[in-house]
């Protein structure tokens, strides 16, 4: 039997292979990476009976158009995504997220767009063939490491499929992405670098997500946040979710592929429970921050984790 692969007829805007990310490499300049919306990623794997850390295809805005060559595979798409399946006899089927479907050789999947969100996940039973670097196949285009030589996918490339377990049980989940009201934050280590007025603006005004947003970071536009101590700090480590304020007073939030060291004051950090929702905020959408305590943030994470587990259990 020939090896199974997807032929890329259109790569989409930013299609990469991702898993749960790469730990313990931050100190040499390699951030975590991994799926931007962890919960959607996990659900897509669970639907096709994979290990939860199996390699998925992440896409942003416009997804890829793929043609399966050889083999047969159980698939799932999660997120808020419009897609269609073009059968080899040219029949077209509208796709449904959170519901598995089977593709056979010469069938095509056309992932048209994500709706009111940025990222979607395409998983197949058995997973895609990725390149493991330090315990993860996640592609990091900045450091050029991980799957596909550290690059996003291009036209005419192939995405190889691992041997699947010949599981074709269809599964379905009734799932609605919850709408966000606030992005909750903890005060950053340089919170006191900012004037009382600036702190008030940070917590009371709305900020707009700009187009200068990708897997590395999200730039926001809104009232300028004035610094009264120093617009630079001695360079120090960064983690995802940190909200930095450079001299121009506009906020930048570090996302999964962030630079590991930076010298701008940190006004806040997005809580772990709200990271998926933050990552799904599209350019043009509005964000409002709310400051909470560490204990609240920890409890919200427990809740987030429990909810995720409940959703995954529903699929079993």
């Amino acid at each position: 039997m020939s090896e199974s692969y997807f032929e890329i007829l259109r790569p989409g805007i930013n299609s990469t292979l991702q898993d749960l990310g790469r730990s313990n490499m931050n100190h040499i300049g390699i951030p975590f990476s991994g799926a931007m919306d962890t919960r959607s990623y996990l659900i897509s794997n669970q639907l096709v009976s994979n290990n939860l850390n199996e390699v998925s295809l992440e896409f942003a805005y416009q997804g890829p158009h793929l043609k399966l060559k050889y083999g047969k595979t159980l698939c799932s798409i999660t997120g808020n995504v419009t897609f269609r399946i073009i059968r080899k006899n040219n029949d077209i089927e509208e796709g449904n997220c959170y519901q598995t479907f089977v593709l056979e050789s010469d069938d095509q999947i056309d992932i048209i767009s994500t709706n009111k969100s940025v990222y979607g996940y395409f998983s197949i039973n058995g997973g895609f063939v990725g390149d493991n670097f330090w315990g993860s196949c996640s592609t990091n285009t900045r450091a050029k490491i991980g799957s596909n030589d550290g690059k996003k996918f291009s036209i005419n490339e192939k995405i190889l499929l691992k041997q699947n377990k010949s599981i074709f049980n269809n599964k379905k989940l009734d799932y609605l992405n919850s709408k966000i009201e606030y992005i909750r934050v903890l005060k950053g280590t340089n919170y006191n670098y900012f004037s009382d007025e600036a702190k008030k603006k940070f917590l009371e005004n709305e900020f707009v997500v700009t187009k200068l947003t990708d897997r590395m970071g999200m730039r926001l536009e809104g009232p300028k946040i004035k610094n009264i101590v120093n617009t630079n700090i001695k360079s120090e480590g960064l983690i995802k979710g940190v909200i930095q304020v450079p001299a121009d007073g506009n906020l930048i939030i570090m996302l999964s592929d962030h630079g590991t060291i930076g010298g701008y004051p940190k006004i806040g950090v997005v809580i772990s429970a709200d990271y998926d929702k933050l990552a799904q905020s599209t350019p043009g959408s509005k964000i409002k921050f709310k400051s909470i305590s560490l204990l609240e943030a920890e409890n919200l994470y427990k809740l987030y984790s429990l909810e995720t587990q409940n959703i995954l259990n529903q699929i079993k």
Binding site: N26, I28, G29, A143, E236, V242, I261, V269, Y301
Partner: protein, 224 residues
């Protein structure tokens, strides 16, 4: 030693060693870093040392800030063995096409290009931290007579291998990248190698670095 431990978000501890940048404080940061790498605490997902801070990230499913803070406080620095310093020798070529800012530096600092290079080559440097982009070492301290601020308008593309200086520091661009440091030369040495699984970076925090000059022919040979 650690002056204060606070939380950075809900999944990282932020250990503050002070505000100054010097080898003594940084050596303490690196001692803690090495200790934690050796004596693993369950749940830690990343440890990021810098000049005078150490950020320890963890998995909230396994541990939380208060518990980790207690464990960090219990670390006994007496038990941390001082390791022998590793010295890394890095070739640098300063031929015209590589030393993008040497002429400008010479005009600004009012010393000759040769004096700048001699001053640069005469010192042994200390690696404070690695990062920003994969494998980029932050070295110091360069001699006070060759210190200058970064470019007012950063370059969109600094060539891979470029060696830059700014203020008291020196770094090496391990990838082509945007950047604003004053470029005095280029090294053919592969500072970051993603295919070297156990040791991907040549220069680690705490290492010492000596630069030695090579000519263009040697550069091309080493670059093969």
């Amino acid at each position: 030693m650690i002056k204060n431990i606070s939380n950075l978000g809900d999944a990282s501890a932020y250990c503050d060693f002070g505000n100054e940048v010097n080898e003594e404080i940084n050596s303490n940061v690196i001692s803690y870093f090495k200790h934690l790498k050796k004596n693993k605490i369950n749940g830690i997902t990343n440890i990021t040392p810098s000049y005078n801070k150490l950020i320890i990230s963890f998995d909230l499913e396994v541990i939380n800030f208060e518990k980790l803070k207690d464990k960090i406080k219990k670390i006994n620095l007496e038990s941390i063995e001082k390791e022998e310093k590793k010295i890394v020798k890095v070739p640098i070529c300063i031929d015209g096409e590589f030393s993008l800012d040497l002429k400008r530096l010479s005009n600004k600092l009012k010393i000759t290009e040769k004096q700048i290079i001699n001053s640069f080559l005469s010192k042994e440097y200390f690696c404070y931290m690695t990062g920003f982009i994969a494998g980029m070492p932050f070295l110091g301290n360069i001699d006070s007579n060759i210190r200058l601020y970064r470019l007012e308008t950063p370059r969109v593309k600094v060539p891979k291998g470029s060696i830059g200086i700014t203020e008291q520091f020196c770094n090496i661009y391990t990838f082509e990248s945007p950047g604003g440091w004053n470029i005095i030369g280029n090294t053919p040495m592969k500072i970051f190698d993603k295919f070297n699984e156990s040791n991907p970076v040549k220069i680690n925090p705490g290492d010492n670095v000596i630069f030695y000059q090579i000519n263009k022919n040697e550069f091309l040979k080493l670059n093969e």
